[in-house]
Symmetry: C2
Subunit: 428 residues, 2 copies
């Protein structure tokens, strides 16, 4: 029997415990060895739980799970950096295998923990840490091991995708959509981890590390939130044939990795534009395979639990056959991160301008001065106040930022109403 | 060094050879062991090849590759049942590992060959046999090992999806779209393997075997071609909010597997409806994970070669670490296949009827007599000849077939102009 100890029994933990108990025979058959549940550490024993597990297996001390000599596999689904990191490190040092769903931890300290696992000769698997139930870590590590991935692009935060879907389909405001997300339990009371892109950045760091075979951490990701998106932006995007998504994009530019999370416009014909509600999707491009997309539910006990149990079965198979999972040496290689100012982008820009002769010429010459060329421009004139909607051709972030700065300094420009990256047309 | 011998050097074989030669250092690093190319068997040595490989490695005798004592991995990309099957069997018996892209072979004789591999203690991998470059076999076997899959639904033939996309987007006829597919090299001179659904049925047999953990062969799949689809069907589908796709669907109904390939209407809001041109997609539903979709290119040297090289790297890692890949015991378990007449379906039906009183009553009573209830009906009346477009609620295939038979026997029915399955609404 291979014994599994659980750290945490919230939404994901309960789903995992429930699966291990109810489908024990089936999982045992698939793994080639019986898989049992040894201990479960929770914050409070008083809370009523839906899983039926013998009383003596529960504890409020997570160290009991990690130190339990009968437990070979420790599953960490408590979240947060500490004490999760200490617990996992201790488990690995005791020769235990670890499965974690903790993106924050893997994004920041994954390299260190994988080194511990290599040292101990154990497995540390984390399929559930990115995009919930979508198999993405294993396909990148194994199925695509023969290919060269040059871009990974994802919708990896369900809450913000739900908000953007509501705004796009119902025409409601950010605040209204956020309120609905809260009502449905998709959003925390403090939505900043989602809305500011921290959650997506952690996931992108993990994806980039594996795709590009080098250690990328959350801090390497350029990050911009999506709370400023207005109903007007969404309408404009539709008029231009785009959808707005909170996109996590990482790409190889030469030997450097450019990685950012930001709202971006995608052509409506692109498969990512059709990813609705709380669904997640990861789009991968490789020199051989071309374009791939993996779509599914990025959160919730069922999907995330499915990924965790998949990892547990893999470890059980490994123990039974005396082998180890593919780790990938990425954590040993430091990543070379492109200076965000040098990264190439295209922008959608909305300016409120005076409606008088010479305005367009003045604006166009600011763009020209910084070497940013204009792909399209549309003027919606009204007396006293006109609106200019421009889309630029590819140029550096730095050149765009300098252009925006000079534009707002122009007398004829009343305000820079909106700006947003445009991703995924012919020019990249 | 791990030495790889190639059987076949067509589109896929050349891509594989090219990758092994040009990216040898990188692949060696990923696999943890150097991977070299030992022999390549081709039909003719006279043909000029784009890959640059020493002359002595080429042969016209595939048995030389299989019998070469230095070759540890045999890659079969020649296609067809024989001599591929004999060659693979002989390679396995000599203790060699095998990678194949041969769906026809794996669908019909995969069980037997996997048994040979188990006997010999070697790996037989076939990621490339289904949906080209899309990682689907490994995710089903490994990532979803902790879940219970109850439905697999795919667009797994690029040629027919290209034809249907053209018909849907350009309004052209089947014949015109087929002609364009031929011109672009997407279709063979004899398109029947694609159009009649044989290719998709073989792929569905492989997918079902792994998803449901039992041996399903091509002959178990109920199959219907798509050559009869008319521009009128496509227009009707659009009017009703559907796209027509050649769908491969396998699902668990109780303990039995119902599997069929046929044209089917999918709601336009479903992700599969948005899969265009030669793209393939596999939609998977599991009790834990919910809905997943894997999208990518299902054919071509680059994508299929990427999957083959991924399998080669996995085998190299296994050899280096002394382990074996997860086979899955599915080939040992015979599948229980549902009688196709008992499978549940919904249908879209177009009838040409006389425009006179009592017609609808006569028709409705035929449906009622067979226990098939009508979900929607639309009459497009014209003098002397009216058209009825009906969609049924879920009922057995058998009940539907009996209904259609009785309908055409009615005096008031001039013809059953069209009928097609409707898949994927609330009622399944």
């Amino acid at each position: 029997v291979i014994r599994v100890g659980l750290l945490g029994c919230g939404t994901v933990g309960s789903a995992v415990a429930d699966t291990l108990v109810r489908r024990r025979a089936e999982l045992g058959e698939r793994a080639g060895v019986d898989i049992g549940l040894s201990r479960i550490a929770v914050r409070s024993l008083a809370k009523s739980r839906s899983v039926s597990i013998a009383a003596h297996k529960w504890t409020t001390d997570p160290w009991e799970v990690v130190q339990d000599p009968d437990t070979q596999v420790v599953v960490e689904v408590m979240g947060g950096l500490e004490p999760a990191c200490d617990l996992i490190r201790a488990a690995l040092r005791r020769g235990k295998h670890v499965v974690t769903a903790n993106k924050e931890l893997m994004a920041d300290l994954g390299g260190e923990l994988l080194a511990e696992a290599d040292e101990a000769g154990t497995d540390l698997l984390f399929e559930a840490s990115v995009a919930g139930g979508i198999p993405i870590i294993r396909p990148l590590k194994e199925s695509l091991a023969g290919d060269r991935i040059f871009r990974v692009m994802g919708i990896v935060n369900g809450t913000t995708n739900f908000i953007l879907t509501r705004m796009s389909e119902e025409g409601c405001s950010f605040a209204e959509a956020l309120e609905e997300a809260r009502r449905l339990g998709y959003s925390e009371l403090d939505p900043s981890a989602d809305v500011e892109g921290f959650d997506a950045a952690a996931k992108l760091a993990i994806l980039s590390s594996i795709a590009f075979d080098a250690r990328v951490v959350s801090g390497d990701i350029t990050r911009e939130g999506m709370g400023h998106i207005t109903a007007e932006d969404i309408r404009s995007a539709h008029d231009l044939g785009y959808e707005i998504k909170l996109l996590a994009v990482a790409e190889l530019e030469g030997e450097e990795i450019a990685a950012r999370v930001s709202p971006a416009m995608r052509p409506q014909t692109h498969p990512l534009a059709a990813v609705r509600d709380v669904f997640n999707a990861v789009f991968v491009e490789g020199t051989g395979v071309g374009e791939l997309m993996f779509l599914g539910r990025g959160a919730g006990g069922g999907p995330t639990g499915s990924a965790v149990v998949g990892d547990i079965v893999e470890i059980a198979r490994n123990i039974a056959s005396g082998s180890r999972s593919v780790g990938g040496g990425w954590y040993r290689r430091p990543a070379s991160i492109k200076n965000p100012d040098d990264a190439v982008a295209r922008y959608y820009v909305v300016l409120s301008v005076l409606d008088q002769p010479g305005v367009l010429a003045a604006i166009a010459s600011v763009f020209a001065h910084h070497g940013v060329s204009i792909a399209s421009v549309r003027q919606e004139g009204r007396r006293e106040e006109a609106t200019l909607v421009l889309i630029t051709h590819a140029a550096s972030e730095g050149a765009h930022v300098a252009t925006f700065k000079d534009l707002v300094a122009l007398d004829v420009v009343k305000s820079l109403r909106s700006k947003m990256r445009v991703v995924g047309t012919d020019e990249g």
